[in-house]
Symmetry: C2
Subunit: 245 residues, 2 copies
DNA sequence: CGTAGTCTTGAACTGCATCAACCAATGTGG
DNA sequence: CCACATTGGTTGATGCAGTTCAAGACTACG
């Protein structure tokens, strides 16, 4: 159970940003050593979230952001009538909970898709620390802005792409993020079900499944349940950029 | 041409936040008098944007946010293949340009749908001022977060609603925002074309037009080109919450 | 080892897109 | 001030992408 990089007698649930291999992907990007030490003091306990468990849920009081340390999450919003939509998938180094700042209450559910660990970032402390450190402030603003840009990209996808284009774009986005984390650009294991992919992409699970099969028939992918191997990345890219030719 | 509320010999293009009737809807919400004065000094010149003109465009260097003072805007993102998506409509008191923080370059186009005026908010100054004033910092974070929540709502709409539900939700959202600005909750003039509504809602303009006609047949709306009168708001609400019954 | 959850595939249906014609409003130049 | 062009909107007929319903196969986990 012990993290081998931290002495067992110390708080094993706390991980210093300065010692974290995700610091170049996460909130601390570009911070000085001095700033990193301050950030270390702010980061709260690490929290383990089991597969299927909710990190937070809509309506819950917002007190902290969470940085994914290991594992994989989905976020979902629900309409009053019960309709649910997956609004994103988050992997190591990505931030959860930004939607909560708006009303001091979380606006979505965050659910672990595999056993995961997150670092708690008490929001009040982040605000005061970012009044002190310009770079931290700027980095935090960039992360929020990036989330807005990402969401606009999803709106484009949902508003104007066809099923094949959506799935191709989704796979390319996933592999790109995995590659940034040192994983292979051509092999991935999906952590989510066809239904969750469908919800995110505005499709039914059957359509997702059929489209996977179609890509396999066309020798673009090799699909074995959740194990995906990309045989022809260029073809995937072409599917996305095809528009209505 | 002169604004009757400012002496003609002063900089007629500059409007103080402290004297602006939008301050309860805009960035200054909840600020103290002292903070308002500082904000006044920061706000750059007011800029007029003619109908059809672009306030900024994707790729342009990002230097400032813009608060809509009067008028109406749309924002659009484009994929590499030319596909375009309307990502939002902005009215008085709403902020434009948040997407630019992410990369120091704007990620979308902002186009005036009627002759408009915006207040320029130099971004560097906003960051330094928000290091000084906790409330301003917090308010700015809330606005960014609200944008994220809004986008997630649009994703829900695009991903899981049918044409009628989308248009009903759109109209209710518009009237709600107009009502917050003192306009009637039951009569509105659309500033955008059917095509722009369609792009925003992930529908073709013909579908938008047909759906307007259907609502008119059902005595939910009275539609005269861009003049819309809501005859039965409850029915509209029901259309949105109908789900798949 | 069995049962529940997940995935695949087929067949029929449907909501929206597409294509196309027409109309109304607004603008333009002679 | 009228003829004509342009832009935006409506409506109809037809087609198809993706949904729905259904049945069966695979897999994983207690």
């Amino acid at each position: 159970m012990h993290d081998t990089t931290t002495p067992p007698h110390l708080d094993a649930l706390k991980v210093a940003c300065s010692a974290c291999n995700l610091r170049e992907l996460c909130l601390p990007v570009g911070l000085s050593d001095e700033e990193l030490v301050s950030l270390d003091q702010m980061i709260g306990a690490r929290r383990a979230v089991r597969r299927g468990e909710r990190l937070f849920h809509a309506g819950e009081a917002f007190t902290a952001l969470y940085a994914v340390r290991t594992g994989f999450f989905k976020t979902t919003t629900a309409a009053e009538d019960g309709r649910e939509q997956v609004t994103g998938f988050q992997m190591a180094g990505e931030l959860l909970g930004l939607d909560g700042i708006s009303t001091d209450h979380h606006a979505c559910d965050a659910i672990a898709l595999e056993d995961s660990q997150v670092c708690m970032i008490p929001y009040g402390q982040l605000e005061s620390l970012s009044r002190e450190f310009t770079l931290l402030q700027h980095q935090f603003h960039k992360i929020m802005s990036r989330e807005i840009v990402r969401d606009h990209g999803v709106m484009l996808l949902l508003g104007s792409m066809r099923a094949e284009e959506r799935l191709a774009a989704f796979l390319l986005n996933l592999t790109q993020r995995l590659q940034a984390r040192g994983f292979s650009p051509s092999a991935l294991v999906l952590r989510m079900t066809r239904e969750e992919i469908g919800s995110y992409l505005g499709l039914k699970l059957e359509t997702v499944s059929r489209t996977f099969s179609k890509f396999q028939d066309e020798a673009i992918l090799e699909v074995k349940q959740r194990d995906i191997r990309i045989l022809d990345q260029g073809a995937l890219q072409q599917v996305v950029n095809a528009a209505n030719c």
